[in-house]
Assembly symmetry: D2
Homo-oligomer: 155 residues x 4
């Protein structure tokens, strides 16, 4: 679901499991939404995390998170979550991410919206996630495998 | 995503958030997967839970859960979750639900599998969920509104 | 925190993370509360699960859950969760568990209540959990190690 | 559990629910651990959040989170989580928080460790959480009630 300028976009529906007694999405759960989008972005690039672990004995771990909460989401809201690589180091990647609420009534099963900046949409949460590559057994940092770096550089 | 005989079917991807240190999906999370399928089944019938609450001041609460775990799911697995109404009382509904793992390599973004019983698929978890209709303020049981019962009876 | 007749008792406080937009504890989270109590019960018997895995390469997995929800819990509620072994097979254990809400004002930091059946307490959720012992690598069922069975039989 | 210089300290045990398939605590769950500590810190100051909501129709919502992950925690680890007020504005509070793993074997039921900086302990995660006071119905920002600000200023 790539969009020029937005990077990768992934849809997320808000269920009961995501909400808290304030009637809104529990703030920690945006980290889950952001990770789903990162995982699908990597999958689109041909990178399956379970397979990496089985074949390379390595995995990504999150090392830094910075989130700003702008507006709350509620049960049944339909969100678009973005992921855009902002920095690729030898052992870590930094990804900018945002969650937008889609205006009500703009989608059906046959017509899922993909443009987070469409009219009527609202920015709910934005932030930056840094992930590092580690050996899955020792959890020590390692250089990101070339196959992953090459997949990231593909246009 | 209705399938004759299966009832409603909803796809669920397994992410890091769903797993535990045993390397498998944390068993409590099947209740989340089952609820996502129930929610989408109700939505397909025209029933939006947030709207029901705003307009009727009522909501469904889970009163009984019975789950049997057959096989574990792992990171990146692609599941199909079913929901089928087995009993509709005045104040409660009983829904039979199952989760199946799709055989690897059977799907692409353009071709999402829908048949939980397709060859190579594996039954992971099955069970029964009973939900009751309550007043959202008092949480006391009430008769299920006719609009909901009628939607459920539509062929 | 053993109590004659009740089996093991473990206190659980309700936080935001445990609640949903219904204003009550999300039903799936009672499985978490019950597991905390089972873990602490095993720990009291001298059984540390991470150590078992490191030394015996085995672990318990949940195979069956049956829960009945009687009354809802809310933010800040203080619960007592019980765990009592009801059946010990060769490869599985069955544990009866309940969660009670303590009457308000009955406890302080220095005086944590321990009797789930004290006057004013309310039964919220009860059920039965079956766990099986599996090889941690293959996830195949195995006989429960004697050291565990012996610890369970100690008076 | 106040400690001079550390601010408030709250113990957290790592259970299966907290871990992921990497064998470590899922990073989003530190936000839960931090919130438990903030909640208990407020409770120690006489501030019960459910009561505030019932009486003042207001609640705290998280507006900013910044977390750095230093070392992973594993199943059965015993953590100490700190909370220290670093800034009190008219409508928001900023709290510095950390999680430390206690060295193995340093505690029993009768002797819970309280010093996060004790020898052998390890800093796992640290960060800063900003919370704002909002009207519980409109979710709009409001001045923090004087009763709360006064409780925070008590020595």
């Amino acid at each position: 679901m790539g969009e020029p300028g937005n990077g990768f976009v992934w849809p997320v529906r808000v269920y009961w499991e995501d909400t808290d007694a304030g009637g809104i999405v529990f703030y920690a759960n945006y980290l889950k939404f952001f990770e789903r989008a990162r995982t699908e972005w990597l999958r689109e690039l041909g990178i399956e995390q379970q397979r990496l672990r089985d074949t390379l004995n390595g995995m990504f771990v999150v090392t830094d998170t910075l989130l700003k909460y702008r507006q709350p989401a509620r049960l049944d809201d339909f969100l678009l979550v973005t992921a855009r690589l902002t920095e690729a180091g030898r052992a870590s990647l930094t990804i900018a991410q945002s969650a937008y609420r889609c205006a009500a009534g703009t989608h059906t099963a046959a017509n899922v919206p993909r443009d987070p900046h469409a009219q009527g949409n609202t920015l709910l949460c934005e932030g930056s996630i840094r992930i590092g590559w580690v050996d899955a057994s020792t959890l020590r940092p390692h250089r990101i495998p070339d196959t992953i770096l090459q997949a990231l550089q593909r246009p």
